[in-house]
């Protein structure tokens, strides 16, 4: 090999350039920087996991988590507050442990994101520059999208879709209902946070009513959809434990709600009007407000991302994860949020270290409690397809076997609680 042709030369020189970039990682724009500044907006399952795993993958990263609330209240298992099987305290966790991982936790609210200058501003007057930004704002409600359902109406018909005072309000209303009363749950259109949530809520309310001398009550789910998550398992579970107490009305059967009159306590569906004693109205949803304000959303109100990395399609070095992101086949669940966070964290760490970005891996597991001793689950394992979309791995995942009422359902109830303990520890511990 005494002569070098042009093609070899080009190869050699580009190899030399690549080597140069590796040897002098602080030299150029976009180059690796092990101590890069990572700012995480939002401290739910997605945001807190991203902060923790970014540090685990590269301990030199300078990670700041900004969250308005001092404590996090888990939405998963919050339906058990409605049955009286669980208190709010058991769902609540602080951010103290994240500090032990070297993460700076700032108790403040992000009011502005400048994706050009790469900095965020907070209500408290702080301005934080970033090399990488993680945006995990969860969902916001589309107030008024369901005619008559606004924030004031939610005080009459609680959504209880963000665990907290709304959960307790709904619990109090359920406790006050007389035997023979009507409970209506208005399920939201797709996509929304926690696809099986409205149906687990029906089971948990039924559990309370059945065990408190109110077995003649009726729970009616009004749904704009014609099918829902774990449908067969829920229907079998409702029947097995609560007889005919729970009824589901699909969109095709007139389940689509047209308007809400909170003052008159009337819910008007396509075919019929209902006057519930208690109603939980779960409104249509979109990405959390800061995502929209920062220009990270599409015309439907959600955040499009490169599904291999969760980097926003709207801004470089900005990663959107959790319920706010459009993540292919991944549902808007806590486990999926955690899984997305770990992928984004691995990408940020790899880029900061100047090493190859690892192959993404995505998983979801989600349990729903029919009763304290009876749970059903859905699991999913996902991959990127050739078009860069997150799709199911064929043959994997799916729901619990149909005969879930016996030993398997009881074990899944044990593992549902175990899931909660472990995901809380993995996220906030």
């Amino acid at each position: 090999m005494s002569t070098i042709n042009r093609r070899d030369f080009v190869k050699l020189t580009s190899a030399a350039t690549a080597l140069g970039a590796l040897s002098f990682p602080f030299a150029g724009h976009g180059a690796a920087k092990a101590k890069a500044k990572v700012v995480v907006v939002g401290g739910g399952f997605a945001g807190a996991t991203a902060a923790k795993y970014a540090k685990m993958y590269n301990k030199d990263l300078d990670v700041t988590l900004i969250e308005a609330s001092k404590e996090y209240i888990s939405c998963p298992l919050s339906n058990e507050v409605l049955s009286g099987e669980r208190d709010m305290k058991s769902l609540t966790i602080g951010y103290g442990a994240l500090g032990k991982h070297g993460i700076k936790v700032v108790n403040d609210e992000v009011t502005e994101i400048d994706t050009e200058k790469k900095s965020v501003k907070t209500k408290g007057g702080k301005s934080l520059p970033y090399d990488y930004l993680v945006v995990a704002p969860g969902v916001a409600f589309k107030w008024g999208a369901l005619a008559g359902y606004d924030e004031a109406a939610a005080e009459v018909f609680p959504h209880a879709w963000k665990a907290g005072p709304q959960t307790l309000l709904l619990r109090k209303q359920i406790e006050g209902i007389k035997d023979g009363g009507l409970v209506v749950i208005v399920a939201p259109p797709n996509p929304y946070r926690c696809p099986p949530g409205p149906y687990e809520r029906a089971a948990q309310i039924a559990y309370y009513l059945k065990h408190h001398g109110k077995a003649k009550c009726k729970i009616l789910i009004l749904d704009p959809k014609d099918k829902f998550s774990k449908q067969g398992l829920f229907m079998a579970g409702w029947k097995a434990r609560y007889g005919d107490m729970v009824e589901w009305k699909s969109g095709a059967e007139g389940g689509k709600v047209e308007s809400i009159d909170a003052k008159g306590k009337v819910i008007k569906a396509e075919f019929d009007e209902y006057k519930p004693d208690v109603a939980s109205v779960i409104p249509p949803q979109k990405a959390g407000a800061i995502a929209e304000k920062a220009g990270l959303t599409d015309d439907k109100g959600w955040c499009p991302v490169d599904q291999a990395t969760f980097e926003s399609k709207k801004a470089k070095d900005v990663f959107v994860i959790g319920d706010a992101a459009v993540a292919g086949a991944l549902p808007k669940s806590a486990y999926a949020a955690s899984s997305e966070a770990k992928v984004a964290a691995s990408v940020i760490a790899a880029r900061s270290l100047g090493v190859p970005v690892p192959k993404p891996a995505y998983t979801n597991t989600c349990y729903s409690l029919i009763a304290p001793d009876y749970a059903v689950s859905v699991a999913g394992v996902y991959k990127l397809n050739a078009e860069g979309a997150i799709v199911d791995v064929e043959g994997a995942g799916g729901v619990s076997p149909a005969d879930a009422s016996g030993q398997a359902g009881a074990r899944e109830a044990v593992y549902a609680i175990s899931w909660f303990r472990n995901i809380m520890a993995d996220t906030f511990g």
Binding site: Y53, Y57, N58, Y335, S338, S339, K342, V343, S346, A349, A350, L353, V355, V357, P358, K359, P360, A361, Y362, T363, T365, S377, A379, G380, V381, Y382, V393, G395, A396, G397, G398, S400, A408, R411, E412, V414, Y415, S418, W419, R421, N422, I423, A425, D426, G429
Partner: protein
């Protein structure tokens, strides 16, 4: 391992497994960290789902392979294991074997544990699972410090003739045949509380 198909599958996997499953930002770490939501950060479950961090490499990989091919009974694991190729299962084995074992924080019944210790000795469990259940065999799981609920479920499943069982665990079915539910509970309390 007695299961030839499984051995072959994992041998193919060994060729595919990424070289850097341990630590750092690697394919192996990324795929293994998807387990943490149920099995705890680095596999150190806070219970009662089983602790997998610190289990032997080949035990973790073969447990996943048998969940995948349906020869091991599980509630959710069969559905999940089907999502991974043999290389990824071996990466998980490498990753979790490299993690420290963190025994579960739980209260055990001293009386039951004492009875369990007797059964452990009388049945020669140490032959495979080591003294007090602290396995030193590559394909045998550690039991010491594992969660009571999980140990009970697993022994019930191995004993239950209506459930599938991995070829390598067939010996467990005969070992457990003569043990009652109370015996199983006693063994679980012994291992959970053992050091």
């Amino acid at each position: 391992m007695h299961n030839k198909k499984l051995t072959a599958a994992l041998a193919v996997g060994a060729l595919l497994a990424s070289g850097s499953a341990l630590g750092g930002v690697s394919d192996g770490a990324v795929v293994s960290n998807t387990c943490a939501g149920c099995h705890g950060t680095n596999g150190a479950s806070v219970g009662p789902a089983p602790i997998i961090g610190g289990q032997p490499e080949m035990y973790v990989a073969s447990a996943m392979a048998t969940y995948k091919d349906g020869t091991r009974y599980g509630t959710i694991m069969n559905r999940i294991a089907k999502g991974y190729d043999p290389g990824q299962l071996l990466d998980m084995g490498k990753f979790f074997a490299a993690q420290p074992w963190v025994s579960g924080k739980q209260t055990v019944d001293a009386k039951l544990a004492e009875k369990g210790k007797g059964l452990h000795t009388a049945n020669g469990c140490a032959g495979c699972h080591g003294a007090n259940g602290t396995s030193t065999t590559p394909t045998t799981p550690r039991l010491t410090g594992q969660y009571v609920e999980y140990l009970v479920f697993q022994m019930q499943d191995f004993k239950d003739g209506n459930k599938p069982i991995p070829a390598a665990a067939m010996v467990m079915r005969s070992m457990l045949a003569s043990l009652s539910d109370d015996d199983i509970k006693a063994l679980a309390h012994f291992y959970a509380g053992a050091k």
